[in-house]
């Protein structure tokens, strides 16, 4: 281990997940991957410290789900207790700004609630920190600069240097989370602190409906040989008929989108 490599303070933001089939609360897959990344970092850089942070209401179901993260080998989780339907971003931003960690890791998208995937961006904006999405690995941390590996589509990787503190979000490209063990999960502590509830007014105005399956463009492969089929499967998505609109007004943009949706048969 080189001397300039030193431990980092990592905060992992975790949410209460939702099983895709049964809808039961669980540790969210991407957040758990984020924690796995952090635990790997702890191993790689001795002296690193990993803390867990969750903002949300406390209930039996959510507590069981949060303990799923603790079962991966942590002793405590900081719970910013809020009423149902509160906006988590101000609470998280305030908590992180009060004692800033060097690295904040979060999943790209929550499994319940809005699930818009905007939290990392909103948080980065508020804190004024850089954000890297789709993280695959943290290669090293030297003199306050982290070398990160970002996952791009089709297995490509991009190496980035980011000055800390920074926020990174992980998706399916990050390492798979380790098993959560019952004993450590049961023993670990939830350190709950009440934070002023800031009701999410926008959310309250929304009308929520169950998601429908997104229409998927059928891929017509006209291939005569196995080689062609392989090429078609491995090829990059081609823009082909797409067009880039620049310097158009919002109405023109909307019209273009509407036209495309009608062409594709999404809207009738």
């Amino acid at each position: 281990m080189r001397p300039e490599q030193q431990g980092v303070e990592v905060a992992v933001l975790v949410s209460v997940g939702r099983h895709p089939i049964t809808g039961r609360a669980r540790r969210a897959d991407q957040d758990a991957r984020g924690l796995e990344l952090a635990l790997g970092l702890e191993r790689q850089l001795p002296g690193s410290r990993v803390s867990l942070l969750h903002a949300g209401p406390r209930g039996e179901e959510s507590e069981a789900a949060l303990r799923g993260y603790l079962g991966m080998g942590l002793e405590s989780l900081t719970l910013l207790e809020q009423a149902e339907g509160s906006d988590a971003i101000p609470a998280l931003a305030e908590h992180l700004a009060a004692a800033p960690p060097q690295l904040v890791i979060t999943g790209a998208r929550a499994e319940r609630g809005e699930g818009s995937g905007l939290l990392p961006y909103a948080l980065a904006e508020r804190l004024g920190w850089p954000l890297v999405n789709g993280l695959a690995a943290v290669e090293k941390v030297e003199n306050g600069v982290a070398t990160l590996l970002q996952a791009l589509p089709r297995g490509q990787r991009r190496r980035l240097k980011v000055r800390l503190p920074a926020i990174v979000s992980v998706d399916g490209a990050a390492p798979v989370a380790r098993q959560s063990a019952f004993g450590p999960a049961r023993r670990a502590e939830l350190e709950a602190t009440s934070v002023p509830a800031e009701p999410d007014r926008e959310l309250a105005e929304w009308r929520l409906a169950p998601a429908r399956k997104r229409p998927k463009r059928l891929k017509i492969v006209k291939a005569a040989s196995a080689r062609d089929r392989f090429k078609a499967a491995a090829a990059k998505a081609e823009g082909g008929s797409g067009q880039v609109l620049e310097g158009v007004s919002a109405e023109q943009g909307a019209e273009a989108i509407l036209k495309l949706l009608k062409e594709e048969g999404v809207l009738r």
């Binding site: 089939i21 049964t22 079962g71 098993q179 063990a181 019952f182 004993g183």
Partner: protein, 651 residues
């Protein structure tokens, strides 16, 4: 000279033995407390030894008689020797009895020596190779020193050199048989074994026809109680005592499917490693077959050190524990009544519950069980899709039925769905009033428990018990022996008492009652594979054979059948943890089938079906008993058919 020397030697040996015994007892007492009735256990010990233990030993007649002669001769000779030579009560019949006892023991030791000439691979060598000589030394020297005592030889017979030589042999014999008994020699098995029988953790398994095979529940409400076994001292004291009783006969090794497949498990070595752990040290002195692929001498442990190291090596490697299929063949064969499977699951519990180290697909399966109540992660609402056209009565609708048909997780498996459909056809043909739980059913928890996840098991079990409590039924019938075992033998501790029948038992009963009629069998040769969880776990060997007989099938038995049946490799989560070996267990089992020349192997378990059907280039077809019965169904003779009037006929 000998007259003065003998009492000194005898009482010195006895004194040292008492000290050794005290030290040994202290080693066992490192374990956790376990409440067993001490006096009642001691009182029951002779019967457990003479009946239960010898029932197992008696499977090998020569060895059984050898042991009776040697051990019986030794016990009698030792007691009489103390009286005759220790206390000088040589008068009368005692001396003659001592001569007879030592002679019997000598004859026995000759047979022991004969077995040790070309010992089978399963026997441990090392100090065990000197045991027949020690037995002879003891019996011969006791015989010789008793000759003058009964007056067959003059008291001053022979030279003093001869007396000295004899004294040396006496010392050898006493050293091995009395001193060695409590100081860790081969004779330790007699001392520890006797106490192990007395204080056995499963007292209920003793007695004719009794068995006790359900795993014991962990107390999850007590947060201070350890979750499984991390270090040897986490076992209960009588488990440690049980390990110490091992006589290293290797019968377990000979029947272990994982050992035969070249996976890194040998039940005998595992028990010996636990002995190493309880005393502290390395396994370098172990003189039997090693774990396949793992040289002896690299592992070491202490009573309070971890059994499985987090990094590097400790007493046992994790893959050894995960190789076990929990088929119980070792427990069935063990003449010392040692509970290998309990110990393995105890150690697995620690690995899963404390460390989160269930290998391979283990973590995924457990996550699925938690999130979807089935190991495959299928939609729990799809549990009855296979029966969409069968119009099965649901318990939620009918509230009560004579029979609750437990489907098991095989309901998600297309192969097992054929079995289930066949079973439903049979039940309908016999006009059984039955209902299913449908989507209310969950996994029984068998796999979770055997993967060490007691928490998930208890969660599933408690919810299943709550569901079952809402309905009235006389018995549960299932085609899955694993569910059968768990519902019948393991839910009781959590508050669910049910009468459970395997479908083969139930079909046999239906046939007996004349509710089924079969067309004669026209197929070829058939053999039957006993599922471990039906046979060894629940003692049901007859009913499946009776059903096959009723079908007109003459079963061509495999060499290993009945209580010696070889596992298919599908139990204990073994297909999930998938520890590599040199061969596959189901391949070996299909070879057993091939040797009988059978074209069809009848099974009674979805796991066995899956494992045996997975064998490439198999010579036999795999069919569940329910399928064979369903295929052979014919309308019952008129007398039976008319006994239930149709509702429409009532005017």
């Amino acid at each position: 000279m000998l007259e003065t020397l003998l009492p000194i030697l005898i009482f010195a040996a006895l004194g040292l033995a008492v000290i050794g015994a005290w030290r040994r007892v202290r080693l066992w007492r490192q374990g956790r407390p376990s409440a067993v009735p001490l006096l009642k256990g001691l009182a029951a010990m002779p019967r457990r030894y003479l009946v239960d233990l010898h029932h197992v030993v008696g499977r090998d007649k020569v060895m059984s008689n050898t042991h009776v002669a040697t051990a019986g001769g030794f016990v009698a000779a030792a007691v009489l020797m103390i009286l005759v030579h220790g206390l000088g009560l040589a008068q009368g019949v005692l001396g003659w009895l001592l001569l007879a006892a030592s002679a019997t023991m000598f004859v026995g030791s000759l047979f022991v020596a004969r077995r040790r000439r070309n010992p089978p691979a399963r026997l441990s060598k090392g100090p065990w190779m000197r045991l027949p000589k020690s037995l002879m030394a003891f019996s011969l020297s006791v015989f010789a020193i008793t000759l003058p005592a009964v007056g067959l030889l003059p008291a001053d017979f022979g030279h003093w050199l001869l007396a000295l030589l004899l004294a040396a042999v006496v010392v050898w014999g006493l050293g091995e048989m009395v001193f060695g008994m409590t100081w860790g020699g081969p004779m330790k098995h007699a001392f520890a074994g006797a106490l192990h029988l007395a204080f056995h953790r499963r007292a209920e398994r003793f007695g004719e026809g009794n068995r006790s095979t359900g795993l014991k529940a962990l107390d999850l409400d007590d947060e201070a109680a350890p979750l499984g076994v991390e270090k040897p001292a986490d076992f209960t004291w009588n488990q440690l005592l049980g390990f110490d009783a091992c006589v290293q006969c290797g019968r377990c090794e000979a029947v272990c499917p994982a050992f035969a497949a070249g996976q890194p498990l040998n039940p005998k070595k595992l028990i010996q490693d636990m002995v190493v752990g309880l005393a502290g040290g390395s396994d370098a002195n172990y003189a039997g077959s090693p774990y396949p692929g793992k040289p002896v001498g690299e592992h070491h442990g202490t009573p309070h050190g971890p059994i499985v190291a987090r990094e590097g090596k400790a007493l046992v490697d994790a893959e050894t524990l995960w190789s076990c299929t929990t088929c119980r063949a070792c427990v069935e064969e063990c003449p010392m009544m040692i509970e290998h499977v309990d110990a393995i699951v105890d150690m697995r519990r620690h690995l899963t519950l404390e460390r989160g180290q269930t290998p391979n697909k283990g973590a995924e399966v457990l996550d699925n069980l938690i999130a979807t109540d089935n190991p495959g992660g299928f939609d729990p609402g799809a549990r009855l899709h296979w029966a969409a056209d069968l119009n099965l009565p649901l318990m939620a609708d009918v509230k009560q039925a004579e029979v609750l048909l437990w489907l098991g997780d095989g309901a998600f498996d297309m192969r097992n769905q054929r079995t289930l459909r066949a079973l439903v056809k049979v039940l309908r043909a016999a006009e059984v009033e039955f209902a299913v739980l449908g989507n209310e059913e969950r996994d029984s928890g068998d796999v979770a428990r055997r993967l060490g996840d007691e928490a998930t098991f208890q969660s599933l079990a408690k919810r299943n018990i709550a569901t079952l409590a809402q309905y009235r039924f006389q018995r549960i019938v299932t085609c899955d022996p694993h569910s059968f075992h768990v519902l019948g033998n393991e839910y009781g501790e959590l508050g669910g008492q049910y009468e459970v029948r395997h479908h083969s038992t139930f079909i046999a009963e239906l046939f007996e009652a004349g509710r089924l009629a079969f067309a004669p069998w026209k197929g070829g040769n058939v053999t039957y594979h006993d599922p471990c969880y039906l046979g060894r776990y629940n003692g049901e060997y007859e009913a499946p054979r009776n059903v096959l007989k009723a079908l007109g099938i003459e079963v061509k038995e495999m060499e290993r059948s009945g209580f010696r049946s070889r596992c298919c490799g599908g139990g204990g989560g073994a297909p999930i943890t998938d520890i590599p070996g040199e061969r596959r267990i189901p391949d070996m089992r299909m070879n057993d089938v091939k040797e009988t020349g059978a074209e069809l192997v009848a099974v009674g378990c979805p796991q066995c079906t899956a494992m045996l059907e997975g064998v490439v280039d198999a010579t036999a077809e795999v069919r569940d008993i329910a399928e064979l019965v369903a295929d052979a169904l014919v309308a019952r003779p008129a007398a039976g058919a008319t006994h239930r009037p149709q509702a429409e006929e009532v005017i």
